[in-house]
């Protein structure tokens, strides 16, 4: 009888603690998801449209530098929803004039086109693998246009100051294992701007292999904007620096320009030389 009582007490305690723990966990995932959702909105969706000139410096283990210069136009259809992207390459010389048109969809593969001016070819690009390197850099396509909120489970694991910035620390784990090359990522999200200041990528063995760091934030047209960042590949000892220049919001982009014409005829009023 005594034994039965103790067993039932243990079971009860286990049950209650499990219940409580589960509740706490639920709260954490909820706030983790909310923090991540705010980050995605602040980073990938600020204002209705944006124009920016992006420079990338890709530095390998030997210290050799490759550079990319491009103009990016972005238009939101709905905040947090589908988006249009247009990317025009100015440099290096051998890809000058090449452009991308991307219709980003939430919940299905993006539509992506590539234009090769030398042969006047508009090519449709398959986009099943978003973890592909963007233009040979340490950033992936997903880093450039955002990873879907629901592709990961987000868990708030703490709060920490990064320099003078109080941050939420969120751990994001892919829901479909094997779909990404990381087992989880850790985000430091600035409590005031909601921008991520640091992202650590852990490989499938749990080892840190890639670190993203924001190096400069400027407030442009009232919107805190990351203007300089770096992605370091620790394993391969290389990194990519990305710099945003001449960022402007609400440039007046409309959805009707994001069509084949934009590829075949670069919009000089926005991309300049």
């Amino acid at each position: 009888m005594k034994k039965i009582l103790s067993v039932s007490i243990i079971v009860f305690i286990l049950f209650v603690s499990g219940f409580l723990a589960k509740n706490v966990y639920a709260e954490d995932t909820q706030s983790g998801k909310a923090a991540m959702s705010e980050m995605l909105l602040a980073y990938y969706y600020p204002q209705t449209d944006a124009k920016s000139e992006i420079s990338m410096r890709i530095v390998n283990r030997q210290g050799q530098v490759r550079e990319r210069r491009l103009t990016m136009l972005r238009l939101n259809q709905t905040p947090g929803g589908d988006q249009f992207y247009y990317i025009y390459f100015h440099e290096p010389a051998d890809v000058k004039g090449m452009s991308f048109l991307v219709l980003k969809h939430v919940g299905r593969d993006d539509d992506r086109w590539l234009y090769l001016p030398a042969i006047d070819l508009v090519k449709r690009i398959a986009t099943s693998d978003k973890r592909t390197s963007f233009a040979g850099s340490d950033f992936t396509y997903e880093d450039v246009s955002g990873r879907a909120l629901d592709d990961d489970a987000h868990e708030l694991i703490g709060e920490e100051n990064l320099g003078t910035h109080p941050c939420l620390v969120v751990r994001s784990t892919p829901k479909r294992p094997g779909e990404a090359e990381f087992s989880y990522r850790k985000f430091w999200i600035d409590k005031t701007t909601h921008l991520s200041l640091k992202v650590e990528h852990y490989d499938l063995k749990g080892k840190l292999y890639k670190v993203y760091e924001t190096q400069e934030i400027q407030t442009i047209q009232g919107t805190p904007t990351i203007t300089k960042a770096v992605m370091r590949d620790i394993e391969n000892e290389r990194y990519t620096e990305i710099t945003m220049k001449n960022v402007s919001y609400n440039a007046g982009l409309t959805s009707d320009i994001f069509q084949e014409r934009l590829l075949r005829r670069a919009p000089r009023q926005w991309i300049g030389e």
Partner: protein
């Protein structure tokens, strides 16, 4: 020889740079590349002009882009003038020539209209190295010896009028002077000469007659297109001439010509349901206007062309593409009845499969690719392996090969068996 070429290149370069600074006070930019290329033959037949290689050349390409800001009425059209030309020192032909690849003016007289006038490269359709409704000239010689893919497309002197609308957009291309494909003549690539009835090289002496530059010979190509959801759809119409000399004017004098042609077609491209990747389909009806009944054995019959394509990407920069292409000869019974001994045998349905695999390494600085054509009906094949290494932002090294197989001498790839080569190209871009 080489010294002369180098000094010529240098002079041309300096001239262009300096003229740019004097003339273009307004925004203009100059870019381009210098390239050296060598394509030794495996062993091959000894029929062409040179036996050991099928290309050895140095090339300087300069591109100038200029956007006039004055006068004001013109500036409002958002005008653009573009020029691209190649100075080619061709050791195979032992010549130095200048080739204007593009030279056009482009403007938008209305917000929903673009006009592009001049020499330009024109491309549309869904095929990968296969063309149905893209009726614009190709340079197959460049393709088969291993020049850059850019040179597969030959320029047209044309006016292109584009009208944009959210319901349907349209391109109309007017080509006043016919440009044929650059194809086999025997000097650089040996091929099956049907007059000689065997593989021929430089001794091939066919006479080519192009349509005269006359108003009635103006070629017109149109495309109507729109997106339906994530699917791109288009319909096409063309009236002009075959780009290949598929008509015989006079058998005894070996005169060939480019018969009149009309093409009507359609295409669709978009995501493949459930499996992912991109699927495409294209169809075209080739109306051979000078032999509609198919009983003239000297002129190509009408035909239908069908193409199905599929491409998808995998993790780690791997991409795979496949195509199934069918060419159906119409009025096949007439063809059979009228054929004479010595005519090239043909199938009613010629089938062709292509397979492409591409993978990038070293943060996309090394590209390995293999493109294969295989025709089960013609029993021939063509494979194009290639490695391209981008050493840095300026230097690129490309090596590859062109290898042909065939059971018969007269099929598309079989006739090229004696032209197998390996090639190497080194390019500096600026």
């Amino acid at each position: 020889m080489l010294g002369k070429v180098c000094s010529l290149i240098l002079i041309a370069f300096i001239l262009t740079i300096s003229s740019n600074e004097v003339l273009f006070a307004e925004p203009a930019s100059i870019h381009g590349f210098v390239e050296a290329a060598y394509g030794p033959k495996f062993s091959g037949d000894k029929l062409t002009q040179k036996n050991d290689y099928n290309f050895l050349e140095e090339r300087l390409q300069l591109k100038v882009d200029y956007r006039p800001q004055k006068p004001a009425w013109l500036a409002s059209w958002n005008p653009e003038v573009f020029f691209k030309g190649d100075l080619l020192s061709d050791e195979y032909k032992e010549t130095v020539r200048y080739q204007v690849r593009e030279a056009y003016g482009l403007g938008s007289p209305l917000s929903w209209m673009d006009v592009k006038l001049g020499r330009q490269i024109l491309t549309w359709g869904t095929g990968d190295y296969l063309f149905i409704n893209d009726v614009f000239p190709k340079d197959y010689e460049s393709f088969f010896i291993g020049r850059d893919d850019e040179y597969l497309k030959a320029p047209s002197d044309a006016g292109k009028f584009s009208i944009y609308n959210h319901l349907v957009s349209m391109d109309a291309v007017v080509i006043p002077s016919f440009t044929p494909d650059v194809s086999f003549r025997g000097d650089r690539l040996s091929f099956y000469d049907n007059f000689l009835g065997r593989i021929a090289g430089k001794e091939s002496d066919r006479i080519f007659t192009e349509p005269a530059v006359q108003f009635k010979n103006t070629e017109i190509a149109t495309r109507l297109y729109r997106n339906l959801g994530e699917y791109e759809t288009a319909i096409y119409a063309f009236k002009g001439f075959f780009n290949q000399p598929v008509g015989i004017k006079n058998e005894s004098t070996k005169e060939v010509f480019y018969p009149k042609l009309a093409v009507f077609g359609a295409s669709i491209r978009g995501p493949a349901p459930s499996v992912g990747g991109i699927a495409s389909g294209e169809i075209g009806y080739y109306d051979s206007l000078q032999d509609r009944s198919g009983d003239n054995r000297l002129i190509e019959n009408s035909g239908m062309k069908y193409l199905l394509g599929y491409e998808r990407d995998f993790q780690k920069d791997l991409r795979i593409g496949m195509q199934y292409f069918v060419e159906q000869m119409l009025n096949f019974d007439e063809f059979k009845v009228n054929s004479q001994p010595g005519d090239i045998p043909r199938d009613e349905f010629r089938q062709l499969l292509t397979f492409r695999i591409t993978k990038f390494f070293w943060l996309q600085t090394l590209e390995a690719s293999l493109f294969t054509f295989y025709s089960p009906t013609n029993s021939d094949a063509y494979i194009r392996p290639r490695l391209a290494w981008q050493a840095n932002d300026r230097w690129k090294l490309t090596v590859g090969a062109n290898i042909f197989f065939g059971k018969h001498d007269w099929t598309e790839f079989g006739q090229l068996e004696g032209n197998d080569n390996f090639y190497i190209r080194l390019r500096y871009s600026f």
